[in-house]
Amino acid sequence: MTPLYQTGRVSAALETTAAWCLAVLWILPLAYALWASIHPSAYSAHFVLDAPLTTENFVKAWNAAPFSRYFLNTFLLVTMILAAQLVLCTLAAYAFARFEFYGRELAFILVLLQLMIMPDVLIVENYRTMTALGIVDTIPAIGLPYMASAFGIFLLRQTFKTVPRELDEAARVEGASPLQVLLKVYVPLAKPVYIAYGLVSVSYHWNNFLWPLIVTNSVNTRPLTVGLQIFASSDQGIDWSVITAATLMTSAPLLIAFLLFQRQFVQSFMRAGIR
């Protein structure tokens, strides 16, 4: 969009240089992590072009902790949360968007409250609830507080409200029940929003740490983030190369997915943010 501003060449060049410096500075930590993980630890802070490449750090990290189990746990966790969120939020959003029912305004405000008071800050009481339910140290216990997502309900409600009523009514005239209308009319039309919400949700829960740290205490339930922390803080002789390898390994699926589907990711985060 930038048209012909009254900009001198010098200031334009300065601006470009500054922008480039910022971009390089920003990628530096990650570039460093990559460097350390693919070189022997002797080269972890010693930058020469002929440093030998190795995959040894990844092998060491993989063998030093049950990462395969952690990957499985995280995978189960994000899948379970997303599936539950999609069902719960779709139904609730449909109710808010297209049904006049007693107490709707109040109910909606109560839902929106969760945008501010997130489960992340209610750790003490939620832990007590999980204890009472007898499900501490299970994967569902990590996911339960996040399943009814105010954000998801809000996002889908806004989308459903843009669906023309004529489509809805046409389907009803043909004898479709409210649930059939939802599945045949609303859900297909909201597909881009579902993709956006799915990406945001998966990256949030893949990366979530504090609540899983609190509510899990065994290998069979710990997600990757908690597993990584336990691995990195235990006595590994502070071999940074192995730790950065483990760090990259745990972030790799998201990172690779992001690099492959960059546009999708960025647009999803945009879409999720425009309210």
Partner: protein, 318 residues
């Protein structure tokens, strides 16, 4: 209400007829709407009630009781927990630190996010790489980010000390020093979040009409003038959205503290939620942790109220 009803009756030509005894009785079809609406909402409502509303209320109730220990159940202690909290120097440290942390992180993150978005939105060479570089920290887990930065800060052979060593600056224990530890965490938080907020600015910039820029160029306005008088005000709704999220983040995200400093040295990186975590799950003093959580809830509620009362009314451009 009555005005609306009168008009509709007039339209039906039934205005003269007296009203039936219960004019608002719902028809079976309306009942079906009410019931269907609630049935659709019910699953989410139950989950929200159990894991958001109940714990929020229970937190407040528990803050007036003692922590149950072994066979001894919780007893009502009135404001004792609050008294203890006010007398607890670590609580005040945590609150002060959290405010400093928020005040330092938020403006810098927002300014950087805005600058990044303007840069990436322009016709600069290599902007695909730039967008990638700015946004990538967002998809990394905070726990991974903290582990990477931990090495940068490590005294002597960490990258920062090595770089400074080239200029003859002596080694420095960045995270172990009371004066620099919090600043180190602030840098990490800015690095992680700026690219995330950039996305929202980018979205807003792309919705702006190019005609604005063309008109300003015709008038001979400088780029800085254009940004200050046109772009910045038009980005205001986005800034407020970002601001709210940044404030919430500064109270919600403490993963890097668990990895990098654990609140030390000498409580200089103790933030509110980390302190709640320590009290609740290290010392198992759940009543005191609930009392601390009440403070956090009050802060977040004030934020919600502020957004509701103040901001929603003032910011309407579109």
């Amino acid at each position: 209400m009555s005005v609306v009803r009168d008009i509709s009756r007039g339209a039906d030509g039934e205005a003269a007829r007296p009203l039936p005894p219960s004019p608002r009785r719902a028809s079976p079809r309306q009942w079906a709407t009410h019931i269907n609406g609630w049935l659709l909402l019910l699953p989410a409502a139950i989950m929200l009630a159990v894991f958001t509303h109940y714990p929020a209320v229970a937190t407040i109730i528990d803050s007036f009781f003692s922590t149950p220990k072994g066979a001894r159940p919780a007893v009502f202690v009135g404001l004792d927990n609050y008294q203890a909290m006010i007398e607890d120097p670590i609580f005040w440290h945590a609150l002060d630190n959290n405010i400093i942390y928020a005040l330092a992180t938020i403006p810098l993150t927002i300014a950087l996010a805005m600058a990044m978005a303007v840069v990436v939105n322009g016709k600069i060479a290599g902007r695909a790489f730039m967008r990638l570089s700015f946004f990538t920290p967002t998809v990394l887990p905070m726990i991974a980010v903290a582990n990477i930065w931990l090495f940068f800060y490590s005294p002597g052979y960490g990258l920062i000390d090595q770089a400074l060593g080239l200029f003859g600056v002596p080694a420095h224990n960045w995270l172990g020093n009371e004066h620099t530890a919090l600043a180190c965490l602030i840098v990490v938080a800015i690095w992680k979040d700026a690219g995330f907020f950039m996305i929202f600015y980018l979205a807003a910039l792309q919705q702006m009409s190019p005609a604005l820029g063309e008109a300003a160029a015709l008038e001979g306005a400088s780029r800085w003038y254009f940004f200050r008088r046109v772009t910045f005000p038009l980005l205001m709704p986005t800034t407020l959205f970002v601001l709210i999220n940044a404030i919430i983040n500064s109270f919600r995200l403490i993963d890097h503290i668990v990895v990098m400093t654990r609140g030390g040295p000498n409580n200089t990186t103790e933030l509110l939620l980390f302190y709640i975590y320590e009290v609740g799950f290290k010392f198992w003093d759940t009543a005191f942790a609930a009392t601390l959580t009440v403070v956090l809830l009050v802060l977040l509620a004030l934020l919600a109220l502020g957004q509701f009362v103040f901001l929603d009314r003032r910011i309407h451009y579109q």
